[in-house]
Amino acid sequence: MTVQTGIQPISAARRAKDRLVQVLVYLAFALAVIPLLSVLWLVVKNGIGRLDMEFLTHSMRNIGARDAGGGAYHAIIGTLEQVLLASLIAVPIGLLTAVYLVEYGEGGRLSRIISFFVDVMTGVPSVVSGLFVLAFWILVLGMPFSGFAGALALSILMMPVVVRSAEEMLRLVPRELREASYALGVPKWRTIVKVVLPTAFTGIVTGVMLAVARVAGETAPLLLTVFITDSINNDPFNGPQMGLPLYVFDQAGRPTDTAINRAWTGALTLILIVMLLNLVARLITWWRSPARRR
């Protein structure tokens, strides 16, 4: 074995390998961004044409696949109602579970089991949550297809996301705040309600909005629980409704150009809603903690 002294220059082979990997890594990033740009470009290009007042204020009632015109008003109303109902179910349960995991569970057996299954629940396929609501709510309990049934399915998908983000935010609340409150003789539950939750409030709101953005685009669970209709149905508890993702799926399945164009415009509307929610969530985080960003 030869003993090398002093600093040796890096050999050409090693330098070339380093360069090659660098190029590959940059290429990988470019490769990941291309489909995103392609999707966004085509959605905007094909969708902008029909994004007019008629689209936003009319339903598809009495409009065939070949007819021009028609809109997604019924689908937009449906999506808003379904997502709102899903949030009303998922946010309290998710938030309380996070409070349990952070404040009460501390390392106990039950909290470890719940924490593990929250993770597993994140991986439940959306179509399975739809099948569950179909089997339980519609087939066993005999309830009708409705927006509310869809909201139940969406809430199952929302819960684990809300739990995880709220848990993370609650853990960021400094221990000293809780201890100061205990030292003043404030009971634990009032400390949680009056000190811990308000401190973590913006972070929790961000997490909820990201969860809403995630389920607003879900199609499969709605297909099995909300069914499909071309008419306006403002009552989420009775009868089939529509949802924006369902609308896109339905129109994309019809083999005419007018229908495909409506699907693109529906997709554009959906992406705008989801991106807006994402953006607002990020802005809240950014505005709240500029110093914590790396």
Partner: protein, 313 residues
Amino acid sequence: MRRSAFRRSRGDGPFRFASTGAGIVLLAIMAAIGVFLVVKAVPALQANTSHFLTELTWQPNATEPVFGIGALAFGTVLSSLLALVIATPVAVGVALFISHYAPRRLASVLGYVVDLLAAVPSVVYGLWGVTFLVPFMLGPSKFLNDYLGWIPLFGGDTVVGKSMLTASLVLAIMILPIIAAISREVFLQAPKMQEEAALALGATRWEMIRMSVLPFGRPGVISAAMLGLGRAMGETIAVALIFPATFKISFQILGPYGNSIAANIANGFGEATEVGRGALIASGLVLFLITLLVNMAARFVIARRKEYARAAA
């Protein structure tokens, strides 16, 4: 812990009860999913005149119902594995780019751009896939068939755009952000001391990554890939629009074959009879069990290592 340090207040009991109860509701929902899928699947399985696990055809709506999970399970597994093979190397590259190559100031913005891929709803990928990618893939598919046709995967006499390959490509795009996000978190947590030691000894950037970042991150990348696999198997609407919906087992990924459990549920639900719905629920139960196993395995790998605690969220 701190429980005995102060006197219990009267409000504490109910609040503790409510939050514990919420956690138990979550567990109950997971159990109920399994129970009710079984309850509605059993009558259909009893009406089945063939063997559910081995039968390939799917005709549950006939007067003599014949259906089985065989071809659907095969399609689900093959398409997801293909997606994984395509997505993982790219995702690791993206993760390395953001954690070790991109300029610091840009890194978080670029990471957000990749996360945006995950924010696009699956039905939009489906629409994009069926109107743009399907015709687009015809050329490359023909090329693969012409020059690499001797490989069984690319073989076959008919080459179409609506193929297993196109569906897997869309799946790969959809699972890329989750694999990239978790790998990135893991790579960022690689011990800085080791990285600097490697650089101080004269290692190039790639040698440093190979010696200190990749060995540290390997279990994290593996579980990220498994989470991606679980997601690919459950993905429904995008592939429902692309798969040609056949019930045949074929390894020819460029041919007009392909279907998956989830896609079949979305496509078959509209005209399903009572037995038909039960059959779809039975197939959903199989999907639920497979994804449950994959996810639990992935979570187990992450949970074993304390350093990954942050990435697991």
